[in-house]
């Protein structure tokens, strides 16, 4: 069956040219010149792909894309334009555009990219749902060719992420996972561990609360006794570690000092929440780590970019919590309740999702989790009391202000402390 494409360009001549090109290539075309009308048509019709101009009077192509991505994030979008700043192109890509083509167009590249994007979208659409009774998501893993549980991989972003990690599984020395706060790094690293079927590969987890040389060496020793030929050290919450821990993290990843002769091959996975460049500017990541972390760096997708996954993840969490609570039956979401999960922004990512599911189950929802129950739990998480919301807002503003000053003072904690008339420990405490 031929695929259908929506073409939006306010320039009638160019619109007609694009329409001819796509019709010649056997696509079914809807050709529109008004973005407002295009939004309505897109809402009511199923398209396999959208091609849009960027510069239009009522709405830019980027704005149009944002609107339609909210409605149907799975439909790929290609942007065509006479001229775009590099920064605009980067922004469009980060917002999910599948291709950017500048006029004059290379028709062959445009058609090639169109076919690729539709094929990718269909692959994800046809993937098994992964939201079976047990919510394990294993069937999706089978579709990928490997098991991946931390994301169900129903969204393009999560499927690409899983594939990238799988391709990098044999990294030699360091791997960096960089994402937003609230990401479930430990589960992701357990998935990486799952790529190997042998006990010769062991992972140990080190976090800011307890990481020191003695702990690391003792965990490596235990892994060796369990038959490890290679130990992967996962450093969680790296940005919150103190200076001594960061120095130790560098030594560990370079196999220096106490780690030089541990008698087993070592690798390191750095897990960092936040923008690495900002953390570097703020002095929370030193030069050594900054460069070390650039060798193999993977961005972890935030949940808002994986809204097709969120419903499945929520169901998986329900299974987990129901088991914990020894419930007789595992509650299921009604459809509209699951849609609420997909629409929510999840600023604190997996942590927030887990807290929400736990709240719902704490309230004994019965066999079916309703739209109202989800809505109520989301409201609680957003902070029902205005006082809590304001306090949280002021606290986040205060941290932003501190970070801005730290950046302007070259990440120097003493200067930052002196600027605020306080001591270094107070600054450290606030920033980490």
């Amino acid at each position: 069956m031929p695929y259908s494409v929506l073409i939006l360009d306010d320039d009638a001549d160019f619109n007609s040219l694009l329409t001819d090109i796509f019709e010649q290539a056997d696509y079914i075309i809807t050709s529109l010149t008004d973005p407002i009308e295009a939004v309505d048509v897109f809402r009511d019709t199923d398209y396999d792909l959208v091609v849009t101009d960027h510069k239009m009077p009522e709405m830019t192509g980027a704005e149009f894309m944002k609107v339609i991505k909210k409605m149907k994030p799975e439909v790929p979008v290609i942007m065509v334009s006479g001229y775009l700043e590099n920064d605009t192109i980067r922004e469009l890509i980060s917002e999910g555009v599948g291709g950017v083509f500048l006029k004059p167009l290379n028709i062959f590249s445009l058609l090639e990219r169109t076919a690729e994007l539709i094929e990718e979208a269909k692959k994800i659409e046809n993937a098994p749902s992964g939201d079976g009774e047990d919510g394990s998501g294993e069937d999706v893993g089978a579709q990928l060719g490997f098991v991946f549980r931390s994301y169900p991989c129903k969204s393009g972003a999560s499927a690409s992420f899983a594939e990238r990690l799988h391709n990098l599984r044999n990294f030699k020395s360091t791997l960096s996972l960089i994402g937003e706060p609230g990401i479930h790094y430990r589960s992701i690293c357990e998935d990486i561990r799952g790529f190997y079927e042998t006990d010769a590969e062991q992972f140990i987890y080190l976090s800011a609360g307890s990481f020191d040389q003695e702990q690391a060496l003792s965990l490596i020793e235990v892994a060796k006794k369990d038959g490890a030929e290679r130990v992967t050290c996962v450093l969680l919450e790296l940005e919150t570690m103190d200076a001594a821990q960061k120095t130790l993290a560098t030594a560990l990843s370079k196999k220096e000092g106490a780690f030089e002769e541990v008698g087993v091959a070592l690798r390191t996975i750095f897990c960092v929440s936040g923008d690495l460049d900002s953390l570097f500017d703020e002095g929370l990541i030193d030069e050594n780590l900054y460069i070390l972390m650039g060798t193999a760096e993977v961005s972890v997708p935030p949940l808002r970019e994986c809204n097709m996954d969120v419903g499945v993840m929520a169901q998986q969490l329900v299974v987990e919590v129901a088991r914990e609570k020894s419930l007789a039956a595992v509650p299921r979401f009604e459809r509209s309740a699951r849609d609420l999960f997909r629409q929510h922004k999840w600023e604190r990512n997996f942590e927030e999702l887990r807290a929400t599911v736990r709240k719902i189950l704490d309230d004994n929802p019965g066999d079916v989790i309703t739209h109202a129950a989800v809505k109520s739990a989301l409201k609680v998480n957003e902070g029902a009391s205005p006082r809590i919301r304001f306090e949280s807002h002021l606290s986040s503003q205060q941290i932003d202000y501190l970070r801005a000053v730290a950046i302007l003072l070259g990440g120097d904690r003493s200067k930052t402390a002196s600027f605020f008339g306080t001591d270094v420990n107070a600054i450290e405490g606030k920033m980490t």
Binding site: L168, F171, K172, D277, E287, I291, G294, T295, E297
Partner: protein, 170 residues
């Protein structure tokens, strides 16, 4: 050069990642280059602190011709050999020569408010961003070889020295 330390770190880090992403070097090669790069940074030899030069000349893990072909064919970037360009002082453009060394980039012409820039670091987003911000975005980019760029910067150094001598004589 010290004032450009953060830019050097950032631009080299991005360049390394971009080379791996495009399949031009392996993560193993980059790891080795990163180690040598950090040695140069820590010995304060910032002029020699370049992941690209390390990969090209010390480790011989990538051929410059292949890299330039990639820029011309895949990125559609124009290439220029600065040996055939009549270079001028950077002072009228208010451009610091140490920034050119730090970012492996040089403005080689300025026509009606638009700057022609040649760089060995086109694949490093921080370099592009830094220069475009500095010159208000009025930039046309060209790729060039490391040898061509180094020679060009040396020639500009000589031009500046001549200018300084003339000023002293006055």
């Amino acid at each position: 050069m010290q004032q450009h330390r953060a830019l050097i770190l950032r631009s080299n880090r991005f360049l390394g990642s971009a080379l791996v992403d495009k399949g031009l070097v392996t993560t193993g090669d980059l790891e080795e280059a990163n180690g040598k790069f950090m040695e140069a940074i820590q010995s304060a030899d910032l002029k020699r602190a370049s992941i690209l030069s390390t990969l090209l000349f010390d480790l011989k893990k990538v051929e410059e011709a292949k890299l330039l072909d990639y820029l011309a064919e895949e990125v559609k970037l124009g290439l220029i050999d600065l040996n055939f360009v009549e270079l001028q002082s950077l002072r009228p453009m208010n451009v610091d020569l140490s920034l050119c060394w730090a970012s492996s980039t040089v403005p080689f012409d300025h026509v009606e408010g638009t700057y022609m820039l040649a760089t060995c670091y086109y694949m490093s987003a921080p370099v592009i961003k830094h220069w475009e911000e500095l010159l208000d975005g009025r930039v046309i980019w060209y790729g060039t070889s490391t040898a061509s760029l180094s020679r060009a910067l040396e020639r500009i150094e000589e031009i500046h020295e001549t200018e300084d001598t003339a000023e002293d004589d006055d």
